[in-house]
């Protein structure tokens, strides 16, 4: 027993540090996992047109991401430029045209949902829908954001 006592003391000292660290979240201090885009998010009510368009864009992106089986964040990052979208479609093994169509459809769906809920002023909905249908996907988020800044809200 005397031979192992110092070892036991050493192990006790180690436990005195490691156990509290584990209890305080040690080993789990890593980048926060992104949310599942297929699960509904709780969003604060949008105030003004800019926030409404942002909410529509995010809801649209969530829908497309859910359909494609990727995260909302990955899709948003892919939508920042044409090169990023190319890279994303290669990485995911997706056909580029189908991907663009899926993005357009998802955004149009989000605009229709918002229109049905009455979240968009009457004259804005067709404008936004038109933008979602005609603007290239890598410019769509920026376009929606700019629209929010340009239109009277």
């Amino acid at each position: 027993m005397r031979r192992v006592a110092p070892l036991l003391v050493s192990l006790g000292l180690v436990a005195a540090v490691v156990v509290p660290y584990l209890a305080l979240g040690g080993g789990r201090f890593e980048p926060t996992p992104v949310a599942d885009p297929c699960e509904a998010r709780v969003r604060p009510d949008a105030e003004g047109l800019a926030e409404t368009l942002e909410a529509i864009a995010l809801a649209g992106v969530d829908g497309v991401a859910c359909e494609l089986g990727v995260s909302r964040e990955e899709l948003v990052l892919a939508l920042r430029s044409e090169e990023a979208l190319d890279e994303f479609s290669d990485e995911q093994g997706l056909d580029r045209e189908e991907l663009e169509q899926a993005i357009t459809d998802g955004l149009v769906r989000a605009v229709d949902d918002a229109d049905e809920r009455g979240s968009l002023p009457g004259f804005v909905a067709p404008l936004v829908r038109r933008a979602a249908e005609s603007v290239p996907p890598w410019l769509i988020l920026e376009t929606l954001e700019r629209l929010g800044g340009l239109l009277p809200g």
Partner: protein, 439 residues
């Protein structure tokens, strides 16, 4: 006085095994070299020191005074060449020569210390403590010099310092060895190799995490990491009398591995969380390195040669640690970077900054990630958002992004710390073979 100078010489020579840790990004910035190659500035010194330590010891045992003087001159000349190196190849070549000088200094100093102190035991204690202090303080010292004067100053500052150390051998004749050196202690040196491999994480990675990971200044990080050598020296002095040599070493291995495990499990980012693990590592360092070196040398007919074996084992361990841990860290940082970018994108999208600014911010953050990646650094959130307002929404965004960066960096270091802990625990196998009772 001369014994102190010899201690400084040992500390200076062995500090060079880790002194360029924080200077690597600057070296990378100066020379057109791949990120994966820049670590050769560190590895080459340790590899050459491991290879030449024993031959240098054989030279030093015959003519310790001359070997020390030659070592100092070679070390100083090579340091000058490092500081003035026009190319990366010259820098690495000069580091190899510097290691040859360091090997002569360290091995000859052991003999000269014994002569000055009149006791092999006291000489060994000074020699071991100086080496531990040098290796532990090297990264911080190098970081401070790099921050203040540039990476070249690390080497240029060593030139006059090394030459002053020549005073240490004035009037000392040295004791030319006559007896055969005998075989080295395989278990003690094998354990030293494994422990040194694990210590790479404590001595190199902690300071890298503090400075490059969490954005501390090298000076502040240097202050934080002095915990390890201070505890190591305190433990080796206050060691309980009833603790047997092998028992003490085994306890040290457990404490060291435990400290490394605790470093892998830090629940938050911040220097305060490194203190308790550093205390464990320091205690382990004091018990293992000193204990194993004393075990390898005590009652041996020739301390210098066996001292050379311990230096060879320790620095082979450093090379092993660098070879094992560096790729694990690099891979983890790469993997975590993608995760952090996604988590950062979520922070931006869910933030309360004006919607019109969100895409612009995301672009700025990604541009900063790319910039930092190109020069082998971690992204700087403040830099990415430097021209943005200071209101609550933006402050929350900054904090959120910094939190994700801290999480990514801290968790990337977890794997290497755990691997180092496992490597250290492997030392218990050779320690188990150390049955010879030591007086």
């Amino acid at each position: 006085m001369r014994a102190r100078l010899l201690g400084v010489a040992v500390g200076l020579a062995l500090a060079d095994s880790s002194i360029v840790t924080l200077a690597l990004p600057d070296v990378l910035g100066q020379f057109d070299v791949a990120i994966t190659s820049v670590a050769w500035v560190l590895t080459s010194f340790n590899l050459v020191l491991a290879v030449v330590a024993v031959p240098a010891a054989y030279v030093s045992r015959r003519r310790p005074r001359e070997s020390f003087a030659l070592g100092v001159v070679v070390f100083a000349a090579a340091s000058l060449a490092c500081g003035l190196a026009p190319s990366f190849d010259v820098l690495v070549g000069a580091r190899c020569v510097q290691a040859v000088g360091a090997a002569l200094i360290v091995t000859a100093a052991l003999d000269l210390l014994a002569q000055l102190e009149g006791s092999d035991e006291r000489a060994l204690r000074i020699w071991v403590a100086a080496g531990v202090l040098g290796a532990a303080l090297g990264p911080a010292a190098g970081g401070i010099l790099t921050q203040l004067l540039g990476w070249e100053s690390i080497f240029l500052a060593q030139v006059p310092l090394a030459l002053v150390l020549l005073l240490a051998v004035r009037g000392v004749t040295g004791r030319a060895a006559r007896t055969p050196a005998g075989r080295p202690s395989i278990p003690a040196n094998a354990a030293l190799l494994l422990v040194a491999g694990g210590l790479v994480a404590a001595l190199f990675l902690v300071v890298l995490l503090l400075v490059d990971g969490w954005g501390m200044s090298p000076a502040a990080a240097g202050l934080v990491v002095t915990v390890m050598p201070l505890v190591a020296i305190a433990v080796s002095r206050l060691r309980p009398a009833g603790l047997g040599p092998v028992q003490g070493i085994a306890c040290g291995v457990v404490l060291l591995a435990g400290g490394l495990t605790a470093l892998a499990l830090m629940p938050r980012a911040g220097w305060g969380w490194t203190i308790a693990p550093q205390v464990l590592v320091g205690a382990g360092l004091g018990l293992t390195v000193a204990g194993l070196t004393e075990y390898a040398l005590r009652d041996r007919p020739d301390q210098v040669v066996h001292g050379g074996w311990t230096i060879a084992a320790r620095h082979a361990g450093v090379v092993l640690g660098l070879v094992l841990l560096a790729p694990v860290l690099t891979t983890a940082l790469d993997e975590n970077r993608d995760e952090a970018i996604r988590a950062g994108a979520a922070v931006v999208l869910d933030s309360e900054i004006p919607p019109l600014d969100k895409l612009g911010v995301a672009q700025d953050v990604l541009a900063e990630v790319d910039r930092a990646n190109e020069i082998g650094e971690l992204p700087d959130v403040e830099r990415a958002l430097e021209e943005r307002p200071e209101d609550d929404g933006w402050r929350a965004l900054r904090d959120g992004l910094q939190e994700q960066l801290d999480r990514a960096v801290t968790s990337a270091f977890s794997g290497p710390f755990l691997l180092a802990a496992a490597l250290t625990l492997c030392a218990l196998l050779p320690v188990g073979l150390m049955r010879r009772p030591v007086a």
